[in-house]
């Protein structure tokens, strides 16, 4: 029973990563936008949702005791707005300016999480974030299983919505812009507008993931949203298969499993004083894996189903 409870806990965390990975797939997989500040967007969602839903606390502003669902919505709005601003600023310029700017966003938000104690609790973070099914907290398995079901439902709804969206004319236009900007422009698509929309949608999804994660764990701190997280999510999407929503989910579960198992292995094998050091080897392995996949299997495990040129052909005829 304890093992099952742990399995449910593990899967829930993995699925929150799957949400981030789905968000990244909208930005990178479908649109080709390189976001190096994923952790910032996830953290923003977590803090916004937490600030709205926690009970009133004397030491900081916020604590409105609102329902969790409202927190999630606010997180999405915040993530979407931030992504919109970044998109407006950089998406007219060369593609790596977006990468550098998002990297900066994550650094800047990390400072905000750390330093604005009256809003975020500073280095200590925020506790007592309401958890779904909190009444069952005493029964580990039931609590974890219900949370797993809830998170899985979020992933499923998101997956269906995204699949639908990507098959819509908007999704097809998005891929057309990614594949051949000039051709898409000739068909009357505005590449910059499409990119900004996709970037904002992806940012909103990442922030939602932050909210979901924060409410499941019940506690957040700046240390959760380091560049490490950005890096993990990238590994997840690239391993799973960028451009493929199922690949994004699969990659998240797989990479999280590798991460958790190797972490467990390290704590078994290495003496306590060497564990931090050994943990850095974990990162080396994931980094090398990411580079190796880019070199030898850039399409990942589940490659994208290519459909652009066919659609472009159809659209051509329509005109």
């Amino acid at each position: 029973m304890e093992l099952l409870a742990y399995a449910a806990f593990f899967l829930t965390i993995a699925l929150t990563y799957a949400i981030i990975s789905l968000g990244l797939n909208v930005q990178w997989g479908q649109t080709g936008l390189f976001n190096v500040g994923i952790a910032g967007f996830v953290g923003l969602g977590a803090y916004v949702s937490a600030a709205l839903t926690t009970p009133d606390a004397a030491e900081r502003i916020g604590g409105f005791d609102l329902p969790i669902a409202l927190g999630w919505l606010a997180a999405m709005a915040a993530g979407g707005m931030l992504a919109l601003a970044v998109g407006l600023l950089t998406l007219r310029m060369r593609s790596d300016y977006l990468a550098i700017t998002t990297f900066g966003i994550a650094v800047a938000l990390q400072l905000v999480f750390q330093n604005t104690e009256s809003l975020t609790g500073g280095a200590f973070g925020m506790a007592f974030i309401p958890r779904p099914f909190a009444a069952l907290q005493g029964q580990a398995f039931a609590f974890n299983a219900l949370n797993l079901a809830l998170t899985a439902a979020v992933v499923l709804v998101l997956y269906l919505l995204l699949e639908h969206l990507l098959r819509s004319p908007w999704g097809r236009a998005l891929r057309a812009v990614r594949e051949d900007e000039t051709a898409a422009q000739a068909l009357g698509k505005n590449p910059i507008l499409l990119r900004i929309q996709a970037f904002a949608l992806g940012g909103a999804i990442m922030a939602l993931a932050g909210g979901v994660q924060a409410h499941f764990i019940g506690f957040i701190a700046p240390g959760n949203y380091l560049p490490m997280m950005t890096f993990q999510v990238w590994a997840m999407l690239i391993v799973g298969g960028s451009g493929n929503n199922r690949g994004a989910i699969l990659g998240a579960v797989l990479v999280w499993a590798i991460w958790a198992l190797s972490g467990a292995l390290i704590s078994e094998v290495f003496p306590a004083d060497q564990q931090a050091r050994a943990a850095s080897l974990q990162i080396v392995v994931i980094g090398v894996m990411l580079c190796a996949i880019l070199l030898w299997r850039p399409q990942g495990i589940l490659p994208e189903v290519r459909s652009v040129s066919r659609h472009l052909g159809h659209r051509n005829k329509d005109k």
């Binding site: 390189f34 790596d96 300016y97 550098i100 900066g104 650094v107 400072l111 490490m228 690239i238 080396v284």
Partner: protein, 304 residues
Amino acid sequence: MNPQAIIDGLISGSTIGLGAIGLTLTYSILRFANFTHGDFLAWGAYLTLTVAGVLGGLAAGLGAPVYPFSFGWGLPLAMFGGVVLTVALTLGLDRILFGRLRARGADAIIVVMASFGASMALRSLLEFIFTAKPAYFTKALQIAKPLGLGMRATPDQLLMIGLTALLVLALHLLVTRSATGRAMRAVSENPGLAGVYGVDVDKVIRVTWIIGASMACIAGVMAGLLVQIRPYMGFDLLLPLFSAAILGGIGSIPGAMLGGLIIGLAEAFAVQIVGAEWRAAISFIILVLVLMLRPQGLFGQREA
């Protein structure tokens, strides 16, 4: 306002500027934003530290400080070794990773992503080998000497400002006056055409890595000497480096240096006003301002 901020800013700006030179050169000639560059600074510092350790084992006298500096002849010697090893590291990385992606004709953004992965791996490898505990080049303490107008600096710091000025001048002359520099500018404008002109593009790329890695190593040693050596020291400098390179205009060596100095000074003054905990936000604010107001940077070419 405390005039000491000027000295502090010039010193940290020198480090940022030297680091940004390598970044701006790889950006304009290899055509990708290299997220690994910060880690070259950290590797340069650790490699120099390692060479210094070996040298110290061979000849103990090398470690004895030479007046008025805090370090002995061993450090410049070790830095030479560190530069060679850092160059070898970047050329090796180019061979196994970036060069292969280039040969395959991969999109610039794929190369950026690979550099991000390599950055994580390199940084964590440092942490594995040397642990996260800070290391130091020297244990000697220096007294800052008054310079007038309420400013103070240690001899080490003045030496660094001088060395930086010398390096920037030499590099600027190399790029604007020499055949190698012309070839570099040609490749940065159009690599295919450079081949048609008879330029060996691979050789220019190697020269670019050699310059970038050397400056990164020297900047890393300077940062290590001024503060301390940590596996994350380069990664923490990455945003200032990018901001300095973009502020100066991609491809411009004087631009990168000036950008570095501006960011160093802005940080030093901001620390006095809003507190040291916000230091890292300064380069982000400058980056956003540049992107909004003058995306081509101070000395940059407008994108065609």
